[in-house]
């Protein structure tokens, strides 16, 4: 057995390395090193834990670690870069789930060992267990919903692939059956079960059924959803108090986890499209806070330090994303976004829309000095990043200066566009931030908007009554010519028409993102 001091020393080294990991994440040149240092820190922390509290039995540790590592390794190595948002969401969920399970295990363990000595579980552990149970459960179920929505098998009406069905129905079934499998033998069947026990058992079964059932709904909103959201939030707090008062009743803890799950599902289910980056960042923060809470449960400083680092990181990203949409976090989680009665009629706005062709665009691009490309989620859907890179090279060979203007909420997670373009070998100094590129927009000859809409809608600047009023946008309307590549005139996530489409300096090229860019490349080569 290594002394407590050695363990704490290793913990401090690990914590310092975690801070370096995040610090080095601030530049692409040092980020790889940062990530490796983070992995080493994790290894050190694990080593310290195993040395400090040597396990008596290795079976669960070795089997669990082997299974977990294998799943993690295979999924991380196989995942396509375009599926990155759902992958990050999914990993997040596992972190939250682990926190709940550790808290539950610690609660049971503390109870059995304290029962022998006759002591009581202390207040810190009780409160931390509640926090870990709620936050972890919200993270786990919320992340599953985010994953399901990004992988497009939850809350959708269309036909699903076989693997999607297996996950969707399997998970729902597991929730419904899992609640019953635990509650029936623990609370309903035992002979000494009191009325309260039976009630709690029934409620646990109900929460499992509710979660499973809600995940089968084919819409992202259903009647009574907001009421249930508030109810489950209040119930979580109330149950938390009960758990603190009576920690020996494990039924209360698992009901708390179930109710947290209902809340997690409801908070994420109604979040659509452009709000996704906020939720992914928020869940990221929660998974850190859940780990920190677990640190309080088992009284372990390294969990608290790393958990709060992650918590802070997620909160900052959430703030950045909210600011970029000009919405408060409460509005994202509880509000809706859509056209108001004062939204102008689309037909009226689009009277003077001009359509164009690849040949015409090629002529326009002939001899230009500055081109800015504004990618949006449409580029990710069409997987057009490599084709866009080719267009960039072609135009640069012809003497133009090509930049990419990235809106903070473009895509489905923070930095989504940057990852896709990095995958396509676009140098990162070509990816310009919104505030930076907006100052130069008046010198831009051609701005090509690829699969973005709301983030270039000038109404945000001009109409104070619009739902996106005040949202920072990329000012492509100030460029000499704007080319919008879009399949149709359909509105973006905000559901409002975009007067830019009908502006004098704007041309619409109606096409699939990838095919449109390829057509332009061919036309430029021929001209």
């Amino acid at each position: 057995m290594v002394s407590q001091n050695v363990q704490n020393l290793l913990y401090i080294i690990a914590a310092a390395l975690f801070i370096f990991d995040l610090k080095w994440m601030s530049h692409p040149r040092t980020a790889v090193r940062g990530n490796l240092v983070g992995a080493i820190a994790m290894g050190l922390a694990i080593l310290a834990a195993l040395l400090g509290q040597p396990p008596h039995g290795w079976t669960y540790i070795l089997v669990g670690a082997a299974i977990g590592s294998a799943i993690g390794w295979v999924s991380a190595a196989k995942v396509k870069m375009t599926a990155m948002p759902e992958m990050v969401g999914l990993f997040n969920g596992f972190g939250g789930g682990a926190s709940v399970l550790v808290a539950g295990s610690a609660l049971i363990s503390a109870h059995t060992s304290l029962l022998e000595s006759g002591a009581e579980i202390d207040m810190q552990m009780k409160i931390a267990t509640v926090a870990s149970g709620i936050i972890g459960s919200v993270t786990f179920f919320g992340s599953y919903v985010a994953f399901g929505k990004l992988a497009e098998f939850l809350a959708v009406k269309w036909k699903l692939h076989a693997w999607q069905k297996v996950i969707k129905y399997g998970f729902s079934l597991a929730c419904a059956v899992g609640g019953a499998l635990y509650a029936v033998p623990a609370a309903i069947l035992p002979e000494g079960a009191t009325g309260t026990d039976k009630l709690l058992g029934a409620l646990i079964i109900l929460s499992g059924l509710t979660i499973g059932g809600m995940l089968l709904v084919k819409k992202d909103r259903f009647p009574g959803m907001d009421a249930l959201k508030w109810f489950s939030a209040v119930a979580c707090v109330a149950l938390g108090v009960f758990v603190v008062l009576d920690p020996a009743n494990f039924l209360l803890f698992w009901l708390l986890v179930g109710t947290g799950g209902v809340l997690g599902v409801l908070l994420t289910l109604s979040i659509g499209g452009a709000d996704m980056p906020v939720v992914i960042a928020l869940l990221n923060s929660y998974s850190g806070l859940a780990a920190a809470a677990t640190g309080f449960v088992i009284g372990d400083s390294v969990l608290i330090i790393s958990g709060s680092l992650v918590g802070a990181s997620g909160i900052i990203l959430t703030q950045i994303m909210c600011k970029a949409m000009n919405r408060s976090l409460a509005n994202v989680l509880f509000g809706t976004m859509g056209p108001t009665s004062e939204t102008p009629d689309a037909d009226e706005v689009y009277k003077t829309v001009k359509a164009t062709s690849a040949e015409e665009i090629a002529m326009m691009l002939d001899g230009v000095q500055r081109v800015v490309i504004v990618p949006g989620y449409g580029m990710a859907v069409a997987q057009a990043q490599h084709t866009v890179r080719n267009l960039m090279h072609l135009l640069e060979e012809r003497g133009a200066n090509v930049d990419f203007a990235i809106h903070p909420v473009a895509g489905r997670m923070p930095g989504h566009m940057n990852v896709l373009l990095a995958e396509a070998d676009v140098p990162y100094d070509k990816l310009r931030e919104m505030d930076d590129i907006n100052q130069e927009m008046e010198q831009v000859d051609v701005a090509i908007v690829l699969g973005a809409n709301d983030v270039v809608n000038p109404v945000a600047r001009t109409d104070p009554k619009s739902p996106i009023a005040g949202m920072p946008i990329i000012d492509v309307d100030k460029a000499r010519t704007v080319i919008m590549i879009k399949r149709s005139l359909s509105p973006g996530f905000a559901g409002i028409p975009n007067p830019l489409f009908a502006a004098e300096n704007c041309l619409m090229f109606f096409n699939d993102g990838k095919k449109a860019i390829q057509d332009i490349i061919n036309a430029v080569k021929e001209s």
């Binding site: 530049h27 692409p28 992995a39 195993l50 991380a76 295990s105 309080f296 903070p408 995958e423």
Partner: protein
């Protein structure tokens, strides 16, 4: 450690987090997220300690064992996927 000591650590670590992370540019927000996500797999420590103990009930041990699986997916998957992503940012230097 006492509660106050742990709370102090918690608060100070949050401040460090804010300081360090505000410097990360938007280009690296996705790797930051998946990298910090891997860090949140630190729960593995708690899971390992509890899974290795044989002096408590079987249920506690099974729960901890599942927690080891979950946390390990988070840790291994998180670091590896971040490494893959960052490799793409690096090669254009």
């Amino acid at each position: 450690m006492t509660f106050m000591a742990l709370l102090t650590i918690f608060v100070l670590a949050i401040f460090i987090g804010f300081e360090v992370i505000t410097k990360v540019p938007p280009t690296l927000h996705t790797p930051l997220m998946s990298g910090s996500n891997a860090i949140s797999g630190i729960t593995i420590i708690g899971a390992l300690i509890l899974a290795g103990r044989t002096d408590h009930s079987h249920a506690a041990q099974v729960l901890a064992g599942v927690a080891v699986v979950f946390a390990m997916i988070n840790v291994v998957g998180g670091y590896l996927v971040t490494h893959r992503m960052l490799g793409m940012f690096k090669k254009k230097d």
